[in-house]
């Protein structure tokens, strides 16, 4: 009985607060990540040789460095050279840039898979290069990149827990603090696990619904 009271009055409010911070981390990072990913992915395919080289370097490094090191660089590393970011800012920056590198590769793959005939037809109708990319190629590519990008967002939901390591106290951080104080590690982390499972499952089902809906317009 005591346990349940404890859970209701102490654990839940704290975890809900942590969940709020997590969502505040995930949403902006996902949006920035996709937008930046679309831009860099497109540049990777259609840019000048120099641009393509730079994007390639970006993708290599941001997919090659572990996310936790990237977060540490933004928060602790930059601090050493005089740039002080809040834990929240450093986390969102880190998540966005890392995520975008993965999205970029999915978009790039999707763009390359669109048949060349599509671009030819557009040009024959008088579309400029940019118009062709924006209105003909990219919409089709986004549909094909959806499973990959959707998956990446689900990874983001899970990796948002790393924000705790740069002292941004989100769901996992709150749980750790609560559990350290009460020694009820198993109970608290099981609840946290269930919350993440819920978030991930929700995101997955939204994703499949989006895939099916969008699929009716394109092949």
């Amino acid at each position: 009985m005591e346990e349940i009271v404890y859970i209701q009055h102490t654990v839940f409010p704290a975890l809900m607060q942590g969940l709020g911070v997590s969502i505040l981390l995930i949403l902006p990072s996902a949006i920035c990540g996709i937008c930046l990913g679309v831009v860099t992915g497109t540049l990777h395919v259609y840019g000048s040789p120099v641009t393509r080289f730079m994007v390639n370097g970006y993708v290599l490094i941001f997919r090659g460095f572990p996310l936790i090191i990237q977060l540490y660089i933004w928060y602790f590393g930059l601090a050493r050279i005089g740039i002080f970011l809040s834990p929240y800012t450093a986390s969102v920056l880190g998540f966005s840039l890392c995520s975008a590198a993965y999205h970029s590769e999915y978009i790039r793959g999707a763009l390359l898979s669109i048949k060349h005939g599509q671009a030819l037809a557009a040009q024959a109708l008088g579309f400029t290069r940019i118009q062709t990319i924006l209105f003909i190629i990219l919409p089709q590519a986004m549909r094909r990149a959806l499973p990959g990008c959707g998956n990446e967002i689900i990874y983001l939901i899970k990796y948002s827990s790393l924000a705790y390591m740069v002292t941004c106290i989100e769901l996992t951080g709150k749980a750790k603090i609560l559990a350290s104080a009460s020694f009820k590690y198993i109970e608290v982390f099981m609840i946290v696990g269930v919350i993440y499972l819920f978030l991930v499952t929700l995101a997955s089902s939204l994703l499949s619904r989006l895939e099916k809906g969008w699929g009716r317009c394109f092949l």
Partner: protein
């Protein structure tokens, strides 16, 4: 690149390199453990009855849905207090990464096995092979070859995840970088060094798997 920074890098280089050995051990241990669990799970999901398949699906959903950090804390602080003996952070790291990897590897293997035309199984059965023999001698040799690129990806992910075990105090590459950084105050340089070391390890691992794939390649085989 300041001179302090370069000194710090020189100081920490071999210390970090030794730490990378721990990362590799954790990764290989987790991949092997993940395979030993993942293969029966994959076979169960394809060839077993409905109840077994549901249980396996739940297992996969569970281990793919919860963040690594949560599992690490849950196992290290939570379950270990449950048991009587003490597990080192290193062991917990391998077990947790292995369990999560088994969920992903089961899906990799399942996809590979399902991609093999069912004529192969039919021909094996027609020759009088039992299902077990058919799976072992005809299906798996092909499925394992098909899985190598996905394993390359899994290795890459596991290597980056091994840096998170720093949270449990495992003395691997990331934690050593932190250690030297706090001594020398050259955080940026050391984290960059650590990052590039991870990249190098990833490259070496994926190159090796690509070479393995080439060695095992069957002339003209396409699936």
């Amino acid at each position: 690149m300041t001179s302090d920074g370069i000194t710090a890098i020189q100081e920490g280089f071999f210390y970090l390199l030794q730490g990378s050995w721990i990362n590799l051990t954790v990764v290989v241990g987790a991949m092997v453990f993940g395979f030993m669990l993942g293969l029966p799970l994959a076979l169960g999901q394809i060839y077993s009855g409905k109840t077994t398949r549901s249980i396996i699906s739940i297992y996969v959903w569970f281990f793919r849905g919860i963040p690594l950090l949560v599992f690490l804390f849950l196992f290290y602080f939570g379950l270990v207090s449950f048991l009587d003996f003490n597990l080192s952070a290193f062991s917990v790291a391998i077990i947790v990464l292995g369990l999560i990897s088994s969920a992903y590897q089961s899906q990799i293997l399942r996809g590979a096995i399902l991609s093999i035309p069912d004529g192969q199984m039919k021909a094996a059965r027609a020759l009088g092979m039992s299902d077990t023999k058919a799976i072992f001698y005809v299906i798996l040799p092909q499925a394992l070859r098909i899985s190598i690129p996905a394993w390359s990806n899994e290795y890459s992910i596991l290597l980056k995840d091994s840096a998170v075990t720093y949270a449990l105090g495992v003395s691997e590459l990331m934690s050593r970088a932190n250690h030297v950084a706090s001594r020398t105050y050259q955080h940026l340089h050391l984290y960059l060094l650590a990052g590039f070391m991870f990249m190098l390890l990833t490259y070496l691992g994926t190159r090796s798997l690509a070479a393995l794939q080439k060695r095992l390649k069957i002339p003209g085989y396409t699936h």
